[in-house]
Symmetry: C2
């Protein structure tokens, strides 16, 4: 029969790190530490198999379990030199759960198990400290009653408070022995009253009660729902860890502490930690007493008493331990230790959490120290950390008053005074003030205001709403879809419940968490340092997938290059139309009644577009630039309020009614699925002709000056049929030929198609015969495949994610099961027709790590994302490549 209980202690262990499935994370780790020769209090682990059997057999234990537990306990007794339940020299234990992965909803910890009215006397003797012993006893009753017996903690808290009031003291530490003794009795009475049973005083009964509670917590509703969401199989089960107690609060020769093998804030290579004399682990966390640095390097406080000074022998022991641990685990460790009457015990070691910049530095240093290789370094830094690194963030040490929470639409953090219109944002900005633009939603007319604001907050819209997309493009924090704020433009204020925030009040946005905070919170700038640069170089060594940026302004393009973009994957020409100096001509074009009128207006836009392209080609010297021809429906460019219409009418010297009629005529019920993209190109060929002319004129101009080689990639949006592509190709080719003839130069150019309408994916085999490249427009493809308007999904999407209908926001991470199926279909069929077909992605998903992994597996040539996400995408691409390698090497 298989072993059900695994013992560890005194350098020996039945298990090890490799038995994580059987022993749970904690159990395996305790065994491993013991095998490393570390001073770990001895103990044993009841396997997850026991748990699985427990539930398969109507909550019955495997036969023989009790005997194995008894045998294991005996072993611990031998190693500790004390006996479980013995009144003279009692062995006390802790009981903890331990699944494969840590899991909310599971039973946490019971300490000091084994105490009763008799053994407490033994503990007095062992510790020579009656107060300590009774304090331990009352803590145990409180913990056990709560966790095992289901007696709510507040009963005990009330009694404690009463005791403090009686003694007129502030903290429990000030209560005397008699107080504690009284409390023990009162606590037991509470248990009797609440459970109609006396508190179990038999140590063994206590132990089995605790074991049962651990197994029972596996089926707590919280654990069940956590497993459902995270798809953790029920039959994994949990283990139970029983370990001898050690005490850091046995007196002045005892202590407890936490240490990191490197600085978790900066990554610097130095031993770093804190400790408290005569304290338990929870005291360090509770923050009542200020912990002391373990060494001088851990503190700037020259007055502090370091562990190194007070316990020099133990400290040097600890240094040896940390060096061994780092060498063994090949990663920065987070160590918990306790000193009981001068003797060092290790309670835990685990991979230390660290800041993003520390993660990069540690990874780079460890490669240079030959502790790990580059591939491992890349695996050590998550794309999320890298992203954090690139944006300013709120100073974590400053307390925050969070007043609302929306979607974390664009990372970064910013404070500013509230304004409710783009015009005001611009005015305030010009006056040198930082503002946060607060709107129901933003529209293309808000671009200038968004540019002027430090951050954007919207009440409506999702992760890929206009506000979100533009803010990410600008690298500016944005909290979108913050439904709990009620904006009143007229009163120039917004309310959250009772709270009123008026124009001019200061708020702070955390775009990484979606938090809206009242008042000013200082931010911390993250730096791009030598470690970052070295790390990104390694990243580029490994990745196969190219990374481009979505950018249209010369500034964005420049930023993209600085972040390592290898081209522009999506240049949205319409963004160039919204500039104040251009919008008038654009509107004139739209409001033209005849084609000649329209051409006059287009002629005004032409030189501006051409100059844009010249600037972009120059910035992207040598790298490909994919330019998407006009995509949004024309009504997006028109004014919406009567006031704006009047202004326009005045400017265009026409009646406002004419303008209103045209706006009305262009109105669409579902603009997402209306007259846009290539449909406009077919309706108004002169618009696309102007744009193609501008692109080619720019390219020819630069090539003629022999500056460098340019291969413009012209992209047709919203293609649903091969016929559209062919019809428009005729136009494009004609214009290109004309321009090239004019410049007496011949340049290569590509003509490709967006794949953003499901039908385009379905006819990919035909399209691949005509187009030079595919670029998946996954925003629209997701909207149409899921029947989900990103601007409207705010009303139910959060609930959908919460209910687990969508595991992730499908506008952030590609929906592999649905949209991914279509992409796979398109890639397979497209490459079948044209094996060398160039395939990329230019939707917002192009910057998402998981999506990049998917694109990598689908054999994409490149991803394209907003400039600020380029490094994240580069890392994700490298990790995808390494993950693939792993998979294929285990094949």
């Amino acid at each position: 029969m298989q072993r059900m209980v695994y013992v560890f202690g005194d350098g020996k262990a039945d298990g090890n790190q490799g038995l994580k499935n059987l022993l749970g994370g904690k159990g395996a780790n305790l065994a491993e530490m013991t095998l490393l020769g570390l001073p770990v209090p001895p103990g044993f682990t009841i396997t997850t198999d026991v748990c699985t059997h427990f539930y398969k057999n109507n909550r019955a234990y495997l036969p023989g379990l009790e005997k194995e537990v008894d045998r294991a306990m005996q072993k611990i007794e031998e190693l500790v030199g004390a006996r479980f339940g013995d009144s003279k020299n009692p062995l006390l234990v802790s009981v903890r759960s331990g699944a494969r992965a840590s899991m909310p909803g599971m039973m946490d910890t019971i300490l000091n198990l084994g105490l009763n009215d008799e053994t407490v006397a033994g503990l007095c003797r062992q510790s020579d400290n009656e107060r300590f012993a009774y304090d331990a006893y009352r803590r145990f009753i409180q913990m056990y009653a709560d966790v095992v017996l289901g007696v709510s903690s507040h009963h005990f808290e009330t009694l404690l408070e009463q005791a403090r009031r009686n003694r007129q003291v502030q903290s429990d530490a000030e209560l005397g022995v008699q107080d504690l003794k009284n409390l023990v009795n009162e606590f037991k009475r509470v248990v009797l009253h609440e459970t109609s049973q006396t508190f179990p005083l038999d140590a063994k009964a206590q132990l089995w009660g605790a074991i049962g509670a651990v197994f029972g917590s596996w089926m707590s509703s919280r654990a069940i729902s956590y497993r459902r969401i995270h798809k953790i199989p029920e039959d994994w089960g949990t283990a139970v860890n029983v370990q001898a107690m050690v005490f850091g609060n046995m007196g002045a020769d005892s202590a407890t502490g936490v240490a990191f093998t490197r600085d978790p804030g900066t990554g610097e290579k130095r031993f770093f930690g804190e400790y408290l004399v005569n304290a338990q682990g929870e005291d360090v966390v509770a923050g009542i007493r200020t912990p002391q640095p373990i060494n001088r390097e851990s503190s700037t406080d020259s007055e502090a008493k370091t562990l190194e000074e007070i316990f020099p022998k133990t400290y040097s022991q600890l240094v040896t331990v940390y060096r061994n641990l780092e060498k063994h685990y090949q990663d920065m460790q987070d160590i918990e230790f306790t000193i009981q009457k001068g003797k060092l015990y290790l309670l835990q070691t685990r991979t230390g959490k660290r800041t993003a910049s520390a993660a990069v530095r540690i990874a780079v240093d460890m490669v240079n120290e030959k502790l790990i290789d580059k591939e491992e370094a890349i695996a050590r830094v998550t794309p999320a950390q890298l992203e954090q690194l690139l944006h300013p963030r709120l100073d974590p040490r400053v307390p925050k008053k969070i007043i609302a929470k929306g979607l974390p639409a664009s990372p970064g953090a910013a404070s500013g005074t509230v304004v409710f219109s783009s015009e005001e944002a611009e005015t305030e900005r010009k006056a040198g003030r930082d503002v946060i633009l607060v709107r129901h939603e933003t529209s293309p007319e808000d671009i200038a205001g968004m540019d002027a604001a430090r951050g954007i907050l919207t009440a409506l819209g999702g992760m890929t709403s206009h506000a979100a997309v533009v803010a990410r493009g600008m690298g500016k924090p944005c909290v979108a879809g913050c439904g709990s704020i009620n904006i009143d433009y007229r009163k120039q204020q917004f309310t959250v419940g009772e709270l009123v925030i008026q124009r001019g009040n200061t708020i702070t946005l955390d775009g990484a968490t979606g938090e809206v905070i009242e008042g000013h919170v200082p931010t911390v700038n993250s730096q791009v340092d030598q470690y970052f640069t070295e790390f990104m170089n390694w990243v580029d060594e490994f990745r196969k997938l190219r990374v481009r940026a979505n950018a249209e302004t010369p500034n964005d393009v420049k930023v993209a290059r600085q972040f390592g973009a290898e081209g522009v994957g999506l240049c949205r020409t319409e963004h160039m139309f919204f500039e104040e100096s251009r919008i008038a001509a654009v509107r004139e074009m739209i409001l033209s009644e005849t084609r000649p009128q329209r051409e006059v207006a287009l002629q005004k836009i032409f030189p501006m577009q051409r100059d844009d392209f010249i600037a972009i080609f120059k910035e992207m010297k040598g790298y490909p630039v994919t330019i998407r021809l006009l995509d949004p429906p024309l009504h997006e460019f028109l004014p919406h309020t009567r006031e704006e219409m009047e202004e326009l009418a005045h400017m265009m010297n026409t009646a406002v009614d004419n303008i209103e009629a045209k706006v009305k005529a262009l109105h669409e019920f579902n603009p997402m699925l209306g007259n846009r993209g290539c449909r406009l190109g077919i309706s108004y060929p002169e618009i696309y002709r102007m744009q193609v002319r501008a692109i080619m004129d720019a390219a020819c101009f630069l090539v003629t000056k022999k500056d460098f080689k340019i291969v413009p990639e012209i992209m047709l949006p919203f293609i649903a049929t091969v016929e559209e592509f062919k019809l428009l190709r005729e136009e494009v080719v004609q214009v290109c030929n004309e321009v090239m003839a004019q410049h007496k130069v011949n340049i290569d150019y590509l003509l490709g198609t967006m794949i953003e309408i499901p039908r385009a994916a379905l006819i990919a085999d035909d399209l691949a015969k005509e187009a030079h490249f595919f670029s998946f427009g996954t925003n629209d493809l997701t909207q149409m495949t899921l029947g989900l308007s990103r601007d409207d999904a705010g009303s139910f999407l959060p609930r959908y994610v919460e209910k687990g209908i969508f595991k992730q926001d499908p506008f952030v991470t590609i929906d592999q099961r649905g949209v991914g199926e279509l992409i796979k279909f398109a890639c397979e069929r497209g490459r079948k027709s044209a094996p060398n077909l160039k395939i990329g992605i230019c939707g917002e998903h192009g910057g998402d790590t998981e999506t990049i992994g998917f694109c990598h597996r689908m054999g994409f040539d490149y991803v394209s994302c907003s400039p600020f996400r380029v490094p994240v995408a580069r890392l994700s691409a490298a990790r995808a490549q390494l993950a693939k390698k792993e998979v294929s090497s285990t094949d």
Copy 2:
């Protein structure tokens, strides 16, 4: 070497009906008629291969062609006893094109070829009629100059007009010999002036000019674009038919006529036709002289001179001919004949065009006469004809002033006075007046007005706009998306260009053509007679596909049953919400702030919904009823104007601002892709619970009364994920169990899903494991797969169809290449998971013939369409089955 020229004449022919590809339709037909022993003027056909070679070889003829043509011409000369180009006894010929299928843009006919200044004298002698000969000569020059030499006809018309004016006569027939001689000379001068060349007088040169013109016309731009649109391969080529001329205008012993072997109007079995003495075919068509009936049965005019009386011998010859022809072709024939100097010639026989009711009657009669079998009868009546049969149509004999043309959104025809609001429509209707409701577009609030109107005209919206869908459901004519009308509600008028149509003016709509006609045009009612009934019985014998109806009112359900529907495929529960007595409760429900409030409102709707279902189940006794739970976004039920909001506020005893705020909060940018369908069911579970309760309560109530068996089919709309389906299933099952327990009865019910979001199709394998049935909602599936909002497509869809980007309106006929691919994917995957999965279609496409064929091939169980289309769908299903059989039998 292969034969290039096929001769026919005197009962012998080189070709036959089977050689249509080589000889073209006309050539093959002429050969076949000759072989049947019919008196066909002899002639020959130059094959389509010659045409193909012509274009493959830089417009050069195959070597030896001239020799073959000469030999063929010699044969004709022998048979006729005259010589081509001979001045004494000339042979004159006609030259015609003839492709496999008749094709616009191809050269039509040149008659009298071979005439010149000398042969005209011979023709005088042959005909003993100088005027006839010169008239033939001037006609020939005119025709040849136009078709072969490219001289515009108007030159000749001007000269003819001048000649008539000189003579002060009205018609060309009154011109004398000298006039015609002068015209011949003037015509020749025009040719010289326009082409700088003399008119070709050599007969052989004329012939080769004509042959060249036929081949040349194959590459006319009109022919090319026709072929592109209809996907006719260029290498099919055209044949050339050269045939000896016969003349019905050689005197009183000559005549020309057209006859049908059965009455093309009613289908009655009687020989039926018209003729003119001393006339050419074109005179019959021109309508200058009134044709006479060929027999008494062909006319009600007892004064008329019949062919039977005047040419009794020829008539009896013709009777023999028509009987043989019908027997041979096994179909009603349309015969063209000419009597030249007492001798009968057949110039053409072809399948006769007929009205819809004639088509049905002829098919039924011919089966009863054992001429054809039932399968052939089904093949003879097109679904379009059946549709025509079911709707009143405009009297074809009445002239119409068409003022505008929109989309033929719902067939049928109606006249009435124009009104611009639904309220007015109702008022006028109550006053007993017929009205046409004219709106920019209609909304669910217009239902009552649409019901009151005789027809609906909208300026916006496509084939599946609200107006179109509802009108089709009501079997009422509708012209939608009529962009050329400008509606001014304020002035109570609409304009088309200069024309103003005011409220109260009468217009007529033809919903089958999309025509808007000024004034009243009488309609002809089509009748459902014994032939129709017999025919539909046969249809049902053959079809495998079940046909259901989309219906929700008891009346619609009743009509559907009468038309042979075998169940309800789609009962849209929201349509029940719009009734005036209910909308208040619905709005109360939507505007509720809390769930209990909402439940109070729902409780008001519940008994009405239950009664609806009771009525429907009763009408559909024994047939399945698929009920779709609430689908449209809630804002569709809310008022839109301030006025309506005020009214509602008053009624609900709340502030109008509250209502406006709610309307605003529910507004969506793209409602098509917003919070609708099952998303509502998840957001507001109480709505679906009420509906399910109403369905089950109705079913249990009826079953308890032991009336009949009912298996309700509950359908969840807008499913995109398996999780949605499972979550809602829990709710449905719970409610059903509750209701059944309450009624102490157990009934079977099915729970299925719409497949209308592309993702649903993509995960069909998973959905099939959960759902009892799939119903393809192809309206939405098309919108999303093509990225095409049906309400907005009006602005470009017509151009798309015109440019051939869409061969058909994808909202009428399923887009097989795109949407069809997705359906195929879903069927295959769905059936793989659940081989017996029930599959149907409930989109508008369910009534479209071509789509039904597709559904049949995909193995659907049923289609569902509007009640008035049920017979059309039944026929389409039978034809699809027979077509499939044909395909598999030729495998």
